[in-house]
């Protein structure tokens, strides 16, 4: 009996993820974040079904009408229902946020892990690049990249991915650097494991947690960056409703129909807030030391 317990305590946590899921239930702010994110994904997936009106059908007889029973967020300059357009706009936001951050995590994690593990010229050039992107404002880098690759959703995704990857590279590099001298790495190597196995099978799972946190918060930031680019006229092209483009069109009618700008902004703020809350909670849940995130 006693023997059994001892074995349990030295065994690696059987189901880390299950424990983490349990842990989030006791974190109220984190739970709110999860609910917001889940709600956003649900809206993005089912926008066609739950939106009360079409996002592109124009009805000029009711253009710029204030919030009312029929259109509770009002209508825009073409008489389109603002609420329905926000629901549809969440698709672009989620799509751009997830794909661009996903891409930048893949690039950053691979380069950062290799740089941390092997060091040398790769590490040095990486640290120059990360230092540069750290001090350059995201919006300028993204603008420059959009100028290179062109406007439109796919280009915005590439621009954001290329703007963000360096921060994930920096995070994973620091982790690998710290972990690669652990005794278990030495042990695995003496058993004949290749660098590849050590790096991606043994170091990786232990080093990825801070990146997951940063990426979670990063999705929120990417959504804002997409909206900002959309606002500057370089994002999704009409009639595709994106929150940034909606607000951009709305500026011309700021005095007539402010609701066209107010509501997409609130939607975006709730979204970013949700990702931030969830990201902060993840720090707790995954037992990450706060200083590894800086």
């Amino acid at each position: 009996m006693e023997n059994n317990q001892n074995q349990d305590s030295i065994r690696p946590p059987a189901n880390r993820w299950l424990r983490r899921v349990k842990k989030i239930k006791s974190n109220r702010a984190g739970l709110l974040g999860v609910i917001i994110i889940a709600g956003l994904i649900f809206i993005a997936l089912s926008a066609d079904l739950i939106a009360p009106y079409s996002y592109k059908e124009q009805n000029l007889s009711i253009m710029n009408s204030p919030p009312s029973g029929d259109h509770f967020m009002g209508t825009d300059e073409f008489g389109r229902d603002v609420f329905s357009r926000i629901l549809h706009g969440s698709r672009i936001s989620v799509y751009v946020g997830v794909v661009s951050v996903g891409l930048s995590v893949i690039i950053g994690v691979i380069l950062g892990a290799l740089a941390g593990y092997y060091g040398g010229w790769l590490d040095q050039s990486l640290s120059v690049i990360t230092d540069l992107t750290w001090s350059l404002p995201e919006i300028l880098v993204a603008l420059l990249l959009v100028a290179v690759v062109g406007a439109g959703i796919e280009c915005v995704i590439i621009a954001i991915a290329l703007t963000y990857w360096a921060q994930y590279a920096r995070l994973i590099r620091g982790q690998i650097l710290m972990l690669k001298n652990e005794i278990y790495v030495e042990a695995t190597r003496s058993l004949g494991a290749t660098d590849f196995t050590i790096l991606f099978k043994h170091l990786f799972p232990n080093a990825i947690a801070p990146v997951i946190v940063a990426a979670t918060i990063g999705i929120g930031q990417a959504i804002v960056l997409e909206a900002t680019l959309g606002f500057l006229g370089m994002g999704a092209q009409p009639p595709t409703p994106s929150w940034g483009a909606m607000m951009s069109n709305g500026t011309a009618y700021l005095f007539i129909s402010p609701w066209v700008i107010i509501f997409p902004g609130i939607a975006m703020m709730i979204t970013v807030f949700g990702f931030n809350l969830f990201g902060d909670a993840l720090v707790d849940i995954m037992d990450i030391r706060e200083d590894t995130l800086k």
């Binding site: 540069l132 404002p137 603008l143 100028a147 929120g220 804002v224 902004g265």
Partner: protein, 308 residues
């Protein structure tokens, strides 16, 4: 100390060259040339050829870069392809609007952020703390352009306290500066709070309490002074954020600053203008980090000694 300043300033030269190469080469990968925008109806291939030659667009990119960099050292950044004016002239015309906005915003975010941080740290875990941190979180998460639009709506349209847009009076600076400054203030408030709480737990502070020094004196004189070091670093590192914020906010408020110059340049593919504006912004960021490093070294002797 002077040695440190000298070493640090010399470091700016290679950084500047690298940044200029990045900006130049990125712009020149762009498909499509500004000539497309210049070609009017009735213009022939011969006209096009003449324009291409005039702007050296037929030469290899390294040669174009060399010409550009050489002229830049003489203060000549080329001529705007669309507006037909020297880029330097355009930059000098637009720079003051961005500079005044950027500096006001930095001062504002520092004053506002540090005060919120102090309140938060001094009243840890009270309603004031939570309130200040909530405001800080909003400051960080609200996209600058949206905040700008909402401020216009509330203070310019409904209350009519400030002008809606423009750049003439001092009053027209208030709303843009608040818009840009609030984001920075949020960040600084959070850093100040964490840093102050950390210093407050140090032994020497405990000792000061034991000696019977007043709480207020300890907080403002001893804790705050030490806690400001990381705040200054963050401010220097994120000076670029402030400049990035000004770009979008200038568009929102119709302020004729560098941001507006840059965005119109991007839309018209006016290479010399884009390069010039990017270069000035990059230089602003470099100066910011430089000043922050110097300030950092002044406040913390360990920094300047470790380089010996």
């Amino acid at each position: 100390m002077w040695q440190f300043v000298l070493r640090r300033s010399l470091l700016m030269i290679p950084i500047f060259v690298v940044v200029s190469i990045i900006i130049f080469s990125l712009i020149h990968i762009v498909p499509g040339t500004p000539i497309d925008n210049l070609m009017g109806p009735g213009m022939t291939k011969a006209h096009e050829q003449k324009l291409v030659e005039k702007y050296h667009l037929d030469k290899p990119i390294p040669v174009q870069y060399y010409l550009w960099f050489k002229n830049m050292l003489h203060g000549d950044l080329g001529r705007s392809i669309i507006e037909k004016r020297p880029v330097t002239e355009l930059l000098l015309h637009h720079l003051p609007y961005s500079l005044s906005l950027g500096l006001t915003a930095i001062v504002l975010s520092f004053v506002l952020g540090v005060s919120m941080g102090i309140i938060s740290a001094a009243a840890k875990n009270t309603i004031f703390d939570h309130l200040a941190m909530l405001v800080a979180l909003f400051g960080v998460t609200i996209p600058a352009f949206w905040l700008g639009l909402i401020l216009i709506l509330i203070f310019a349209v409904w209350l009519t306290w400030f002008p809606i847009s423009g750049s003439g009076s001092l009053m027209s600076l208030v709303l843009p500066a608040v818009t840009v400054g609030l984001g920075g203030a949020g960040l600084i408030a959070r850093v100040t709070r964490v840093s102050m709480l950390e210093v407050a737990s140090k032994d020497f502070i405990v000792m000061l309490h034991a000696k019977g020094l007043g709480k207020r004196a300890i907080l403002l004189k001893h804790i705050l002074r030490n806690a400001l070091i990381p705040v200054i670093t963050i401010l220097g590192l994120r000076i670029g954020w402030v400049l990035g914020g000004t770009v979008t906010v200038e568009i929102v408020f119709g302020r004729p600053g560098l941001g507006q110059l840059l965005i119109t340049g991007l839309f018209r593919r006016d290479y010399p203008v884009i390069q010039g504006a990017m270069l000035i912004l990059a230089m602003g960021i470099m100066m910011g980090t430089f000043l922050a490093d110097i300030l950092y070294a002044l406040t913390d002797p360990r920094v300047r000694d470790q380089h010996h």
